[in-house]
């Protein structure tokens, strides 16, 4: 199945906007985003988008493996593995990969989520061959050096101390997820519990590599100063010979319906308290995705948003209020976070958040709010699309999480179709008391031993 298809998609934004001027400019814009695709014989799908405006390339490889594919005792393994992918293979030994890339003008990074592990290369087009050589080497011939593993374990422990121990948001987020999920693997932190970081074995690592790093479990996106033809040729030479093997077994655990509010408190030395409230919501490819995003925009995006106006501006009980929800294969959480001001009982922030949610459940949002939210979403689209790096990440995210990158170009239409009633319906359906977990961090600055009451 050597199937090459080139998609030239117009962005159909006309339905979204009341003015016609933007529809015209958006369509001319869209012609600059043709995506060429090819599925290699080993099952890896490759997406290419040409842009000659700078002589550089952004290359993303999305592996469909993340902390949801882990088990108790080996939490954080996906993320640790992400680190190991830079620590040597057959042709490029320990340290060689980074040195070769940087000496040729390239830089790299990677990130791990609950769902995916993503590798990023940014380089001048002169480094194209090198990058493919490196990527092919580490997908098929990763080395497992015991000394390197021991040292990288310490690096990841340091990362955890920084992002969790020294970050109240990190601590509370971790505790919230561990409480909101009782069955599904979204309950443990992507970075892993410290005791697991300290105890993975070589066998655990090898098993993880076997399981996740099959070419048929990956999607490659290349954006920038390249042509689809040259990328497909490089893929044929470097990537296609890598044999396919079975992808990770499906995650079959379904989080049971939550049947009542859960609450937790973290006592810790801190200047200010912190509040997070998580509600179970569906996975990214759910039809309610668009209405939920519009609802979040109305609630927290911009200083005119309802929760900013209420908690920060009018009641002056919080410094900040946010709502976050990342892309997810399985049902996930929308998490509201508020930073209470000093001396303010976090309960006050909590009540104000519920009050604002209740208002929308009772009365639909206004036409102006709906139009505003759609306009904000459109500008965000341009933001993501304005750099080769943003386009690489966005095309890949849509391809992986919606199963089809075309959904990126349909997003404006899908947001345009959201009605006030849709927004009200998802508010009623998902943001109910029985479906929430409330986490509060209470500063505990008393003398040791006499602190907790």
């Amino acid at each position: 199945m050597n199937n090459v298809s080139v998609a030239l998609r117009g962005l159909v934004l006309g339905t979204l906007l009341s003015t016609t001027a933007i529809a015209a400019s958006a369509q001319s814009e869209a012609q600059q985003f043709p995506v060429a695709t090819k599925t290699l014989k080993n099952g890896m799908k490759v997406l290419v988008q040409t842009d000659h405006s700078i002589p550089n390339v952004a290359l993303y490889i999305f592996y469909r493996i993340g902390s949801r594919n882990e088990h108790p005792g080996t939490t954080g393994l996906s993320h640790f593995f992400e680190h190991m992918m830079f620590n040597g293979a057959k042709k490029y030994g320990p340290g060689d990969l980074d040195k070769a890339m940087e000496a040729n003008g390239a830089s790299n990074n990677a990130y791990t989520t609950q769902n995916v592990t993503v590798y990023q290369d940014w380089f001048p087009r002169s480094a194209l061959n090198l990058i493919f050589d490196i990527e092919a080497d580490r997908i098929q011939n990763l080395s497992f050096d015991a000394k390197k593993i021991a040292s990288e374990r310490e690096v990841v422990a340091s990362e955890r101390r920084t992002s969790v121990d020294a970050n109240n948001g990190g601590i509370l987020d971790e505790q919230l997820k561990a409480t909101a999920f009782i069955a599904h693997p979204y309950q443990w932190p992507v970075v892993g519990w410290m005791s697991d970081i300290e105890h993975w074995t070589m066998d655990d690592l090898k098993h993880h590599f076997e399981m996740g790093y099959a070419p048929n479990n990956a999607t490659m996106v290349v954006v920038g100063d390249v042509t689809p033809e040259e990328i497909f040729q490089l893929c044929e030479k470097y990537i296609e010979p890598i044999p396919q093997h079975p992808p990770p077994p499906p995650v079959t655990t379904v989080e049971p319906e939550q049947m009542g509010e859960r609450r937790l408190i973290v006592h810790k030395q801190a200047e200010l308290p912190l509040l997070m409230i998580g509600y179970h919501v569906p996975q990214t490819n759910s039809p309610d995705f668009y209405a939920l995003n519009i609802l979040r925009t109305v609630l927290v995006q911009g200083e005119s948003s309802r929760m900013y106006q209420r908690l920060v501006d009018k009641d002056q009980i919080a410094l900040e209020v946010t709502a976050s929800q990342g892309p997810a294969f399985d049902p996930t959480l929308t998490i509201f976070a508020a930073q209470p001001k000093q001396g303010v009982d976090p309960q006050k922030c909590e009540n104000a958040i519920y009050d604002e949610l209740d208002k929308i459940k009772k009365t639909p949002i206004s036409d102006v709010e709906l139009e505003k939210a759609k306009n904000i979403r459109l500008v965000e689209f341009y933001h993501q699309m304005r750099t080769i790096n943003g386009r690489g990440n966005t095309i890949g995210t849509y391809e992986v999480f919606f199963g089809d990158y075309h959904k990126l170009f349909d997003a404006a239409t899908n947001y345009g179709a959201v009605t006030k009633e849709d927004v009200q319906r998802v508010a009623q359906k998902y943001f109910a008391a029985n479906n929430r977990t409330v986490a509060t961090l209470i500063p505990d600055n008393g003398e040791q031993g006499s602190a907790k009451q």
Binding site: H79, A103, N108, V191, V379
Partner: protein, 471 residues
């Protein structure tokens, strides 16, 4: 939170400020054409058409930052900037937010040490509304008492929240201790005590004195016709009243002699966050390109000497780096990392050894070639968007740099020789004279770190302020 392999935050932000490297293609990347106009009222306007994405970016520099704060009222420039959009002659704060959000536009204003940066971004189709909102905030803020009190209270709590995350305040402490009484040591956002002293009248006065067309550079880049944009800006900003400029010149800070160490006690710390260095360089330093090349090798990328030693080879930390935070006058040079409490002195010792090795052995020809390729290869994405371009040309105008800063960058990088590298190491990288700042659990790490300096100072993180001069 998605754990990443690298989090070299300081390097990234320093790169954005400096403008960095270059492309190695035969045909070098050039700044798109742009024009400079000085309006009758003295306002400098820079216009650059950049087609492809239907967005307009405005970047403004008001040439007054925290160095213009009166002593004891640190944070005044920052608060003034933060209030620009919180109520104007024709819009309440709420109305401004509603109008801005409705078109998905952005407006932000932030003080730094040397200047206040204001930026705005909107879709080309909304250009009239976007320019109107922007000029309304910059020309007609009213500083209503209620909004002033609200913001000051938020800023004070914001500092407390930041102190809960050691790495977010590490540089505040380091700069305060390094620059000491020099204006560059003041916390740009103020501290818990100085903010409490700021009154509405002081804000209004700061605005009247500093927000004048002659003291301002305005750069616009994006999808528009330059002639039409010029006409729009003249209409919107031409009526801004000219005023004589009263800005005092700043005298640069002098390097610290000897060694001193500040330990900030954060009793719940599991890691020590440490920064050390001395006074660095000015933005227009004639050695700036050679410094960038050498610092790339020393502490400015993943395979830098520092990161190799502290992370890759020893696993002591998630990241180690060095950077020059250059300003109009010489700013700071800093080496930064963090490690678990038990390995604090091991990590600092190792960082000191890497610095000593730089002075002793210099850099190899292979390292030079690699760093040059890296800087050139990574440069184009830093001037890819209209927002980046607008900020770049505004900064060049402010620092007195010209387009060759970009257009000749590749040639200048290529021209760096081993002899030049040796020279800048001796001249710009500190060796014996060092200022240390550590945030960590003092009861555990205090005794071990005494060896680094004869002068020792300490404070608790819960104490208000960041620097010895804070009262």
């Amino acid at each position: 939170m998605n754990p990443e392999r690298k989090a070299l935050r300081f390097v990234v932000s320093a790169l954005l400020v400096l403008g960095f490297a270059w492309t190695s293609r035969a045909q070098t990347l050039q700044l798109p054409p742009h024009e400079k106009i000085v309006l009758k009222n003295g306002l400098t306007v820079l216009l650059m058409e950049k087609h492809g994405v239907p967005i307009v970016d405005i970047a403004v520099i008001v040439k007054s930052g925290s160095v213009a704060d009166p002593a004891g009222e640190e944070g005044l420039a920052s608060v003034t900037a933060g209030l620009l959009h919180k109520g104007t002659a024709k819009r309440s704060a709420q109305q401004f937010a509603a109008d801005l959000d409705f078109i998905g536009a952005e407006f932000s204003a932030d003080a730094s040490t040397d200047y206040t940066a204001i930026s705005s971004e909107f879709l080309t189709k909304d250009v009239d509304k976007g320019v109107d909102l922007f000029s309304d905030a910059v020309l007609h803020p009213v500083f209503a008492q209620g909004e002033v009190e609200k913001l000051l209270a938020q800023e004070i709590d914001g500092i407390k929240a930041a102190k809960d995350e050691a790495q977010s305040v590490a540089l505040n402490y380091y700069y305060g201790y390094l620059f000491n009484k020099h204006a560059y040591g003041r916390p740009v956002g103020g501290d818990e005590l100085s903010l409490a002293r700021i009154k509405r009248d002081a804000i209004a006065k700061f605005y009247e004195t500093n927000y004048t067309p002659g003291n301002t550079i305005l750069a616009v880049a994006g999808e528009f016709n330059a002639a039409q944009m010029r006409a729009k800006l003249e209409q919107a900003l031409g009526g801004w009243k000219a005023k004589p400029s009263l800005l005092p010149a700043i005298i640069g800070p002098t390097a610290v002699k000897g060694k001193k160490l500040l330990l900030v006690d954060k009793p719940d710390s599991t890691q020590t966050f440490f920064v050390f260095g001395n006074i660095g360089t000015a933005e227009n330093d004639p050695d700036r390109v050679a410094i960038r090349v050498v610092n790339t090798i020393f502490g400015g990328r993943f395979t830098s000497e520092l990161n190799e030693a502290l992370r890759v080879e020893s696993g002591l930390t998630y990241g180690a780096e060095a950077f020059f935070d250059s300003r109009k006058e010489p700013g700071a040079f800093a080496i930064y990392s963090f490690t678990k409490n038990e390995s604090t002195t091991q990590a600092i010792d190792l960082a000191l050894q890497v610095l000593a090795k730089l002075h002793k052995d210099g850099v190899t020809p292979e390292q030079l070639a690699s760093a040059k390729a890296y800087l050139k290869g990574q440069f184009p994405p830093s001037i890819e968007t209209s927002g980046q371009l607008a900020r770049t040309i505004a900064a060049h105008e402010f620092y007195g740099l010209d387009d060759d800063e970009i257009n000749q960058m590749e040639a200048r990088i290529d021209a760096v020789t081993p002899a030049m590298a040796k020279q800048v190491i001796a001249k710009h990288f500190p060796e014996e004279n060092l200022v240390f700042m550590l945030i960590g659990k003092a009861s555990e790490i205090g005794p071990g770190v005494r060896k680094y300096a004869t002068q020792q100072d300490s404070r608790k993180i819960s104490e208000p302020g960041f620097w010895p001069g804070a009262k």
